[in-house]
Amino acid sequence: MGGLWVDYELMTTIPGLYACGEANFSDHGANRLGASALMQGLADGYFVLPYTIGSYLSKEISTGAISTNTPEFEKAEKDVLERIQQLTSIQGKQSVESFHRRLGKIMWDQCGMARNAEGLKQAIQDIRNLRKEYWSDVFVPGSTTEYNPELEKAWRVADFLELGELMCEDALNREESCGGHFREEHQTEKGEAKRDDDKFMYVAAWEWKGEDSKAELHKEPLMYEEVKVAQRSYE
């Protein structure tokens, strides 16, 4: 569904890191479906990036090799090594795949297109428990000094376990239905999505506050000058 903030050149807040296609929020807002996401990919790839990335690189081309003898590099390297160490030293009983499947099932059941408060609260609890279990019982085979796809997957699933919980938190917070988010409590008599523009005319940007702390919500208001926001109607 996308949503990463980008400037007009499609660069994120990290210099030199571009987000294109469905991953960004550029033309259709952070929340759109099917064909508009495809259009975003085509437009970014054909018309925007061939010019903007070149313009960024043209300034970088004279930059020499960047030294790895910096405190920033050393810290990043140390963090990565520690994380790898942490994942591989658990030597638990359950495979990475089995955790991925269990997380997928929770998300599918409780955080699909239609979701409700009760299910989301349950899902948050379930994911927290699953995450605890993951960090005490996952089994990552293989070595850390050679190609190890299982380690890569373990790292991704660790991320999914955090992101999955956040998706549920966000869905629980948004007490309305809009776009791909259908809260069963908020529907019209005919079963259509019921918006609440007084309260939710904002993009939710969640700030990560560390492993076990709640993410912090930053509201970025949506302001329309020309367009009048209205309920989508298929009638």
């Binding site: 054909y46 018309f47 495979s95 990475v96 795949e97 089994f139 085979p141 293989g142 070595s143 050679e146 190609y147 190890n148 796809p149 299982e150």
Partner: protein
């Protein structure tokens, strides 16, 4: 269905050898790669290291999957990638032999995963158009004959998987390189760099350690995109013309 697998393992505790596995219950609707996923789950459950293999799109478009299956790159079927092979083509009790793509220029990274970055370097040596060809809409203003457009398109269908190299007794990369050369050389936008391109790409191909073409044509037979060997003939003509031209300069 019960299957026996004989898989090449290299890395970790294996120096490079075939290891036998058995899968008791393979569903005929599984894809070949899903069958390997199931094997890997079984191995992890036994606290063994899973078999490393490459995959991405799993729908025949990215060129990431590889594998030589029972002696044939991308398996038994014509015009398909490994990820498009399904287990319904096998029978109860079959033994399947699975190896990596073997070539000097494709060193094994682990088990069934080989390093195909030599292909990237061939592309870097000329597989692009760097002259300004205008904005996207200008493409419509440059007429291209239908016959040429179709030929260029057929060549562009190459997904860069490397099966042609694995199939070739000389481990030659001629089919891949010629498909890329043809694709760009057939189009008007590719004319300016025409000579430089073919000379650069062929030189890089040799430098990477790929063999020479001796017209065996196994590449065309195994190519999942059915790229024709007529591309190789075209590249030879292009190479000759470019060599003559460059000596005149």
């Amino acid at each position: 269905m019960r299957l026996k697998l004989k898989i090449w393992r290299q890395g970790g505790k294996y120096k490079g050898e075939f290891v036998n596995y058995e899968l008791p219950d393979v569903n005929p609707d599984m894809s070949f790669l899903e069958m390997l996923d199931v094997l890997n789950e079984q191995l992890v459950a036994q606290r063994e290291e899973p078999v490393a293999f490459e995959h991405d799109c799993r729908e025949g478009i990215c060129g990431t999957c590889s594998l030589v299956i029972d002696g044939r790159p991308h398996g038994p079927m014509q015009g398909t990638t490994t990820c498009q092979v399904h287990m319904r083509h096998y029978h109860e009790g079959d033994t399947i032999v699975i190896e990596p793509f073997r070539a000097k220029a494709f060193p094994v990274i682990k088990d069934l995963v080989v390093d195909r970055s030599a292909f990237d370097r061939i592309i870097q040596a000329g597989g692009y158009i760097s002259v300004n060809t205008g904005q996207a809409q200008d493409a419509n203003a440059i007429p291209v004959e239908k016959e040429k457009a179709s030929k260029a398109f057929d060549s562009a269908a190459c997904i860069g998987c490397g099966a042609c190299v694995a199939a070739c007794p000389n481990a030659s990369a001629m089919l891949f390189t010629s498909a890329k050369v043809s694709h760009l050389t057939l189009l008007p936008q590719g004319q300016v760099e025409r000579h430089k391109r073919v000379l650069g790409m062929v030189a890089q191909m040799d430098k990477e350690g790929f063999g020479r073409c001796s017209n065996v044509q196994a590449c065309e037979a195994e190519c999942p995109k059915e790229i024709s060997v007529s591309n190789i003939a075209r590249m030879n003509r292009e190479f000759l013309a470019a060599s003559l031209a460059s000596e005149q300069e």
